[in-house]
């Protein structure tokens, strides 16, 4: 691994300045360090955000506020979340392994990079990494998305799907926005699926109110410790059922509860995922009732 500098500032302004100068943000580092190890989006400096006082879970009124550096394990363990946001707890519990959940943070989970095996290949520089070619489209894309596009990799964050159906908002160093707006498709000019500007980072996630019922279901490649092939979250507010999926599109993808695979035709090697998506969507819908 190429050597890099490490800073752990106690001041958000200092962190932002370092990030603007080209450093990369780090929560638990469970994704970041494995990227740097392979020369993916290399940086000379890493800024650890965990000394900024951004950890903690606060319940107020009907909602909940989760600091960006709160560990995924703390979300999974939190009694209030377990009681009022069971789908979020299930999603936290679905992340990787116990070790990864202890180290991994909520901000890092929401901002993690795609898992496409070409993107993660140490010797290839694919389109999303700034290169010319999307190797997946001409190569082996059996685990990729259901949507055609410049990049066919899938959103990997379990928490993103669960938070999306809860109408979560994210707070960054400079603004507040619906979680859905944090993500957007990468373009030729901007090869990133996040809207964050240089120096900007997540400080918290807020869920305004508890649903009447919520759930998160995934199918992985083995019984535990696997990214979701497809993960589906559902929440019901009164008669209104919201659904979203990961593993099917570049972005955490809202679904139409009545036609979950709509607009997701599947690619040559991924059509099978439609069936999987339909099954999980119907399981999730059944779990929230109505």
């Amino acid at each position: 691994m190429r050597a890099f500098g490490y800073a752990r500032p106690a001041d958000a302004g200092e962190a932002a300045a370092l990030l603007r100068a080209g450093a990369r943000a780090m929560g638990g580092g469970t994704d970041l360090l494995t990227q740097l190890d392979r020369g993916i989006l290399p940086a000379d400096e890493v800024v650890d955000l965990r000394a900024l006082g951004l950890s903690g879970i606060e319940h107020d009124g009907g909602g909940v506020r989760i600091g960006a550096t709160t560990s995924v394990a703390d979300v999974e363990r939190d009694a209030g979340i377990g009681e009022r946001f069971p789908g979020l707890r299930q999603a936290a519990g679905a992340v990787g392994s116990p070790q990864l959940r202890e180290m991994g943070t909520v901000g890092g989970n929401l901002c993690q990079q795609v898992r496409c095996w070409y993107f993660r290949h140490p010797d290839l520089q694919c389109w999303l990494r700034g290169g010319e070619t999307c190797y997946a489209q001409i190569g082996d894309h059996r685990k990729h998305g259901l949507e055609p596009g410049d990049c066919i990799s899938v959103a990997p964050s379990d928490l993103a799907a669960a938070l999306l159906v809860l109408d979560a908002e994210v707070e960054t160093t400079g603004r507040r926005m619906p979680l859905a707006d944090l993500y957007r498709k990468a373009t030729a000019e901007r090869r990133s699926t996040l809207v964050l500007e240089p120096g900007e980072f997540l400080t918290a996630v807020e869920v305004p109110r508890a649903p009447d019922a919520s759930t998160y279901v995934i199918a992985g490649e083995r019984a535990a410790w696997s990214f979701a092939l497809v993960g589906v979250a559902a929440a019901r507010f009164g008669d209104d059922v919201r659904m979203a999926a990961i593993g099917v599109s570049n972005l955490p993808r809202p679904l139409d509860p009545d036609d979950p695979a709509a607009g997701l035709p599947g690619l040559e090697m991924t059509r099978w995922k439609r069936r999987l998506l339909e099954t999980l969507a119907s399981d999730a819908r059944a779990a929230v009732g109505r």
Binding site: W117, Y118, A219, A224, R274, L276
Partner: protein
């Protein structure tokens, strides 16, 4: 004791080796029928369990020596290329770099492990040894290689199309297959394909070499310390006695770690040049690119049978994806050896591909071939309307179908019976259900070698404090061989296994012991250990006879005591050994040859019960019943743990493990543990394990091997269970959600 040289034959993973060995006459009495064998046959915890779990066990990667250099290898990113530029001098100029080897360099008398014509992504081009890993990596970066990129072959079909074979394809014919096939009342044609499975031993390939004036010491993670020694000695023009190989603990090898490997050769050459000890350890990625794999294969079977299910003829073809090295594994062995069948044609084509060299992997060839043939056999059973176990019984053979030789023992029929009972085979059709989740049960037979044989030597010593040591010339790759050695010595010495120290993994301590492979290790060493321990026992009892004035034949050793048969004498062994001062009693033992004119094989059968979710394609193995004939079981706890490991590794093969090669670049896209999935504890089913073999009457101690057998039938049984559950057969492993859903029409 008199020693003589004998010529012996040993079957190592399907290949017969003939060798001369020195054996001593063995007058150790066999176990008598019904007499106690304690602790042989009783569960004994692994003697190294504490060291392994507390971290005090020293693996090769843990070896730290003063002045140690760290070595890093430059590997090709291209599937096929020529190196057009490489700046060795720039690497040598990097601060901290002590030695750099480029293409063609290496030990004087061996082919260089470094090449400027890399024929797979991951091929080694150069190696840099430096004071720190960072300096070594900086050295590698300074090499600034440039390549001319060439075309490549990444699939078996393309390699076959080009007729590019690692070795000439072979054909084996028995009887008249053409006539028998055209006359057959029933024929079945079936094709199966399996991917490359990657070993992923938790401990990577590693070596630490220390070249000194008076000789060379290499710590090596190896399954064969003596093979490692001869490879190193030959490569450097040294006498074997000048080379010492040490392997104290291993974290698996599964067939990929015979010899010293390129790590040992390169570390030794770097150490020779730099005059410093050198450590070379593979990263996980290097493991998965360059350290071997179970060969992918495409298998086609045409089976001819009578209407009542008797095999008349089989024609089978196996195309094996060798990569750039390895030997053609016996993929069609199950067709040849498991059932009676008078007519065969077996064709094997070992295809070259631009991938790393393949390596033996726990039951190489046979496991993949069992996956194909045992499923094809079920297709025949279905076609003729016979129960799958019944068709196996019907085609049972009492003699080796190829040579006609009898087996020394064969408990296969007993295994079918017991497995069916334990699994509830009778009720299998009632399991299936018609909802979203379906269940199924499938069976498969297991055939393997596992006789062991000479040369294998052991020494047992006991001193003043009566805490014996057993010294053997083998290495324990994690299978518990050392514990079994303690158990065997314990029975003769009457001293608990836990109080016995076993020395292994060091070529300087004793003569040759078996490699850890081919299910041969314990079957080879067991009689030698028992013989050595018996000799010590005889001496102790002789001394006791003089001391207590009771005939030696009326004395025994039990629970650390010398006892008379009539019960009048009970004295601690230390009454005798305590008089030894600084001397000790020692005994040596050697393994004699196997009987002539007979085949020694292990047999067994497994039944898998699975559940498949037709909505998600997820297959769950719920239960595996494993019943094997391995002769006498020395340590049931160790044996059970071998079965658990074999079954689990086969579940990985059946459900999730698959090396994926990118068709555009020819590089492996899942050469790491996040995308190459191996099972975790959550995938472990209930495993019911029983041994039905009697002690083999033709082998000393009656012990056969167990390393390979448990992995052999599991995946085939899962395949048969899946077909039973779905009524659809999946022809390609692994059975991922994608393959299941596609088979169901998604």
């Amino acid at each position: 004791m008199t020693a003589k040289l004998v010529k012996t034959e040993a079957v190592v993973e399907g290949r017969t080796e003939v060798r001369w060995t020195l054996v001593e006459e063995d007058d150790t009495p066999e176990f008598e029928d019904g007499a106690p064998t304690r602790p042989v046959g009783e569960p004994t915890p692994r003697i190294s369990a504490r060291a392994r779990t507390t971290g005090s066990a020293r693996y090769t990667v843990d070896v730290a020596l003063p002045g140690l250099l760290e070595a890093v290898v430059l590997r090709s990113p291209h599937a096929n290329a020529r190196v057009t530029s490489l700046d060795l001098d720039a690497a040598r100029a990097v601060p901290g770099v002590r030695c750099v080897l480029g293409p063609g360099e290496g030990p004087e008398h061996a082919g260089s492990p470094l090449t400027d014509a890399p024929a797979f992504a991951g091929a080694a081009i150069a190696v840099v040894a430096a004071d720190t890993p960072d300096a070594a990596e900086a050295g590698v970066a300074a090499l600034a290689p440039e390549y001319e990129v060439l075309g490549f072959v990444s699939t078996i079909d393309d390699g076959f199309e080009k007729q590019d074979f690692l070795e000439e394809p072979t054909e084996h014919v028995r009887g008249d297959p053409d006539a028998a096939l055209s006359a057959a009342e029933v024929t079945v044609e079936a094709s199966y394909a399996v991917p490359a499975q990657l070993h992923n031993s938790l401990e990577p390939h590693a070596a630490v070499a220390d070249w000194r004036e008076d000789g060379l010491t290499v710590w090596s993670s190896t399954q064969a310390i003596f093979d490692a020694r001869s490879t190193i000695a030959d490569a450097f023009g040294l006498e074997p006695d000048q080379v010492r190989i040490i392997c104290e603990f291993m974290g698996g090898g599964f067939g990929s770690k015979f010899g010293v490997g390129p790590q040992g050769l390169l570390a030794a050459e770097l150490s020779r040049r730099a005059r410093r000890p050198v450590r070379l350890v593979n990263s996980r990625r290097e493991e998965n690119l360059a350290a071997g794999f179970r060969t992918p294969a495409k298998m086609d079977y045409t089976i001819g049978a009578s209407r009542d299910g008797r095999l008349e003829a089989v024609e089978a073809t196996a195309m094996i994806g060798m990569g750039t090295g390895g030997w053609p594994f016996p993929v069609l062995e199950p067709v040849k050896s498991v059932y009676a069948c008078p007519n065969l044609r077996l064709m094997t084509a070992p295809v070259r591909m631009n991938l790393g060299p393949s390596a033996a992997f726990r039951a190489p060839g046979v496991m993949e071939g069992t996956f194909g043939f045992e499923q094809a056999l079920d297709e025949l059973a279905e076609k003729v309307g016979i129960d799958p176990i019944e068709i196996r019984r019907l085609n049972h053979t009492e003699n080796d179908p190829e040579s006609g030789k009898p087996y020394t023992s064969k408990g296969l029929l007993k295994a079918y019976e017991r497995a069916a009972e334990l699994a509830g085979w009778e009720g299998r059709d009632g399991l299936r259900g018609d909802g979203r989740v379906r269940r199924g049960m499938g069976v498969a037979s297991q055939y393997w070698w596992g006789a062991g044989g000479p040369p294998a030597y052991a020494e047992v010593r006991i001193g003043k404090s009566a805490r014996p040591t057993v010294t053997v010339g083998l290495q324990d790759l994690g299978t518990g061989t050392m514990t079994a050695c303690a158990v065997i010595a314990s029975e003769r010495l009457g001293i608990p296994a836990g109080e016995i120290t076993v020395h292994a993994g060091d070529t300087s301590r004793i003569g040759h012991g078996p490699a850890s492979g081919g299910s041969m290790t314990l079957a080879s060493i067991a009689p030698a250990v028992r013989m050595a321990a018996h000799s010590v026992r005889t001496d102790i009892l002789g001394l006791a006879a003089d001391m207590f004035e009771i005939a030696a034949s009326d004395l025994t050793l039990e629970d650390g005591e010398i006892r008379s048969v009539d019960g009048t004498l009970r004295e601690p062994v230390t009454e005798v050994t305590g008089k030894l001062g600084n001397a000790w009693i020692s005994g040596s033992g050697s393994r004699g040859p196997n009987p002539d004119g007979m085949n020694v094989n292990t047999f067994g059968c497994q039944i898998a019960q699975i559940a498949v979710d037709t909505g998600t394609g997820a297959v769950t193995v719920e239960r595996v019943v494993a019943v094997h004939d391995i002769g006498r079981v020395v340590n049931p706890m160790g044996a059970r743990s071998q079965v658990m490991g074999g079954v689990l590794q086969a579940i990985g093969f059946a459900l999730m493990e698959e090396r994926v090669v990118d068709p555009t670049t020819g590089t492996v896209v899942n050469a790491g543990l996040e995308d190459y999935k191996v099972p975790t504890i959550a995938d472990v089913p209930e495993v019911v394990c029983e041994f039905v073999g009697d002690p083999d009457p033709h082998l000393r101690m009656g012990v056969k091997g167990l390393g390979e057998p448990p992995i052999i039938p599991t995946a085939a049984a899962i395949g048969n269970a899946l077909a039973h559950a779905l009524g659809v057969r999946l022809r390609e492993a692994p059975y991922t959600p994608r393959r299941v859903l596609e088979a169901l029409g998604a």
